[in-house]
Symmetry: D2
Subunit: 78 residues, 4 copies
């Protein structure tokens, strides 16, 4: 089974806010992320850090991965 | 993050039938299973094969893993 | 990083004998195999079981995986 | 098989220099690290970043993981 080991959350602006600082993000394929620890968030793979989040839930189904994360810090943009 | 690589479904009789040949099973910790391919099912780690299933969904949350599998063959026991 | 979760050793006749019942097999890409437990060996993905082996060492380098396994049982072929 | 998903290199001062900017580090257990991408290096889990490295080789054997990494940047310490 193909897997992708991911150490960053790359949103490509596709994250959806569930409420307050809680978001979900759906990615193609089965992806392995570290849960319950702070993970860097970027808009693009090569981009700069937009903040940090903690993934609290991960789902694999039909060759898609859904992660549910809580934003814990946000880089300010002037 | 601790993970467990699993290549068998070991039920310990804790599987719950959702409907027909569809089951869910909750295991402690974050466990990696192969999805979308036939996986051997056993009642205990050392036990004999009780059948084969295909895991169609996997969830990680709060240090538990939930797998949703379809039973595709069952060893008859006389 | 792309990974492949493997639960079988598929040799495609490319295994190399190191000595006695010890073999190595080089596969493309980074692949995750269970170590230290019996794993089914097949010549092809869809083929029948040719035996069981225990992987004792795994190496990842330059997008290749090398596994070192000990053959523990062999299906006889008449 | 127990695994540990690691997204940082935590050296605990146990890295060994092979030559120039190349190091090896042996860790207990089977650990999954991302290869071929920059990974943060710390002396302790909670410590500050001491630099970045790229893991070029990973070995699993006898419940130990050996990683070979190239140091690509080093935080200066006054």
């Amino acid at each position: 089974m193909p897997l992708e080991l991911n150490t960053l959350i790359v949103t490509k602006n596709k994250e959806k806010r569930i409420k307050d600082n809680e978001f979900l993000l759906i990615k193609e394929g089965y992806r392995l992320y570290p849960l319950d620890v702070p993970v860097e968030i970027r808009k693009t793979v090569q981009g700069s850090t937009s903040g940090y989040g903690v993934i609290e839930k991960l789902e694999w189904e039909k060759e898609k991965t859904t992660i549910y994360f809580k934003l814990i810090s946000l880089n300010s943009v002037n």
